[in-house]
Amino acid sequence: MARPPVRANGLPLGLRDSAGVDARPFTARPAAAPRRRRGLGTLLRSAEARRQLWGYAFLAPMLLLLLVFKFLPMVQAFYLSLTSYDLLSAPRFVGLSNYTALLRDPLFHQSVGATAYFVFGTCVPLWILSLLLALVFNTALPARNVLRLIYFLPAIMPVVVYATVWRFLFHPYGLLNVGLHAIGLPAVDWLGDRRATMPGFILSAEWRFVPYFMIVYLAGLQNIPQEYYEAAAIDGASGLQRFRAITLPLLRPTGLLVIVVSLILMSKVFTNVLIISGGGPDGATRVLSLFIYQTGFQFFKMGLASAASIFLLLGMMVFTLMQLRLFRDGGHD
């Protein structure tokens, strides 16, 4: 079978669907870019110059905002990470000692470990479950729209509500333990037992994010043209063969996207941890963003907090570069 001419560039539903857009890799220039015509006389050239100025003018406001609230903070994070600063007296240059302090700090080690535990513990089941669920939802199903709506509810509820409800579920007499009791299992001290809290968090994250990434997968699945399946069925391919020869390869860009996005999303988890466990018990769930928050805003060690953010930034940068690469490679993987 000839390779299908799909725009399999990993961009989900919205981009293509609503405006019929074939989103190109971001480095490509538009094919029909008018070439600058030099030497056509002063009139044209001044019009050209004026156009250039308009180009800058349209870009300037957003660029200014990004300079002040993205680039400047990033530079400052690097600078502060080399200082000792408590908000009261001026920052004092201390070289790399914040970094060496962090590398020797058992609390930081614990925090990195908790983050890795949460990120990978959540993401691996998440990838599998959301794909399975999307595959089921992509087939004929009675009351599909109603079911889909139900599944979307956890994904669209406000993050604070989500955290509040789960804190209540984790209560010693809460619904989780009622459920465990009903199937004959002992109660779990979800927020007091350091071995139980992180699995509880992972469970809650699956509840919220499996539907979320199912939506992304569904978008990818719906971009696979039905004709391929029909043609394969006429050729006598079984369901499993069709899945392996059509669905899996064409879903690969979406799958990569889901992997990267979920890794980034989970590594910056903050709100639900703050609300549900506050990082406890004994720091077992003190993920990096919470570590940064507590170091900076509760202990006022801005330098140390900045050094910790550099570590988090490095981790995210790896994931983001993976993501950017995906977009560049999209379309001709």
Binding site: L13, G14, D17, S18, A19, D22, R24, F26, P30, A32, W54, G55, F58, M62, L63, L65, L66, V68, F69, K70, P73, M74, L80, L133, A140, L141, P142, L147, L149, I150, Y151, F152, L153, P154, I156, M157, P158, V159, T164, W166, R167, F168, L169, L175, W207, V216, Y229, V258, L265, L274, I275, S289, I292, M302, A305, S309, L312, L313, M316, L324
Partner: protein, 279 residues
Amino acid sequence: MISGHTYVDRTLYWVRFVLVSAFGILMLVPILWMLSTSLKPLAQVFQLPIQWIPRPPEWSNYPAAWNQFPFGRYFVNSVIVSVAVTVLNVVLAGFAGYSLAKYRYVGQRVLFLAILCTLMLPIEVLMVPTFLIVKELGWLNTYQGLIVPVAADAFGVFLMRQFMLHLPDSLIEAARIDGAGELGTYFRIVVPLVWPAVFTLGLFVWRETWDSFVWPFIIISDDSLRTVPIGLQRFQEQYVTTYNQVMAISTVAMIPLVLLFFFFQRAFIQGIALSGLKE
């Protein structure tokens, strides 16, 4: 899906349905528990067996919870901040996207890549320096502090540029020849053509801002400037054992998003699918 109406196919169809429904009910149970708890008297909250439909429903939990904190005020603040961020971000992202897609100038490529790079700097990473900059500007505990730094987000720039790249240059050229001027061309020709994208982006930004917690949590200590998520977090902290009221106020906080979801389901889902590009 091609399904011959064989016995196996029909069985599979219903097996799938039963599995998905059972799992769906499991997904729904926490939300149902929230709703039913919000209507129980406190003494009944942990009573077994669970009474899913409390009789009689304790509707008074709602006004009682609402009146503990100035939630009306928080709600107004949330509306102000989320609408302002959305308008500011979408308008400026539209301009910037247009500039990157339809103009040619020196340094354009570098600027575009630099803007893209800011996508990997979420507030969780930059909370300390961003806080210090906003403090320096004297914007702690102000609306502009809640609005402007959040509007500085490049996701929309990237999105608008992608959509505008595909507008035919001839259209824009024609408008110019008709003497529409650069701003006129943008507002009268370009914006109407990319309106669906503008709308989707707007809904997406609004939702993210309405729901945002970290930034207002860091820079706001003045109660009259708190937004709904912060108010809710403080409420559940302070009245942690008044479970019925905590669940009542959680239910209220969920209503705007659920309503919006029902009305704009399609755009909402696109927004979630789009967020794949962000985070």
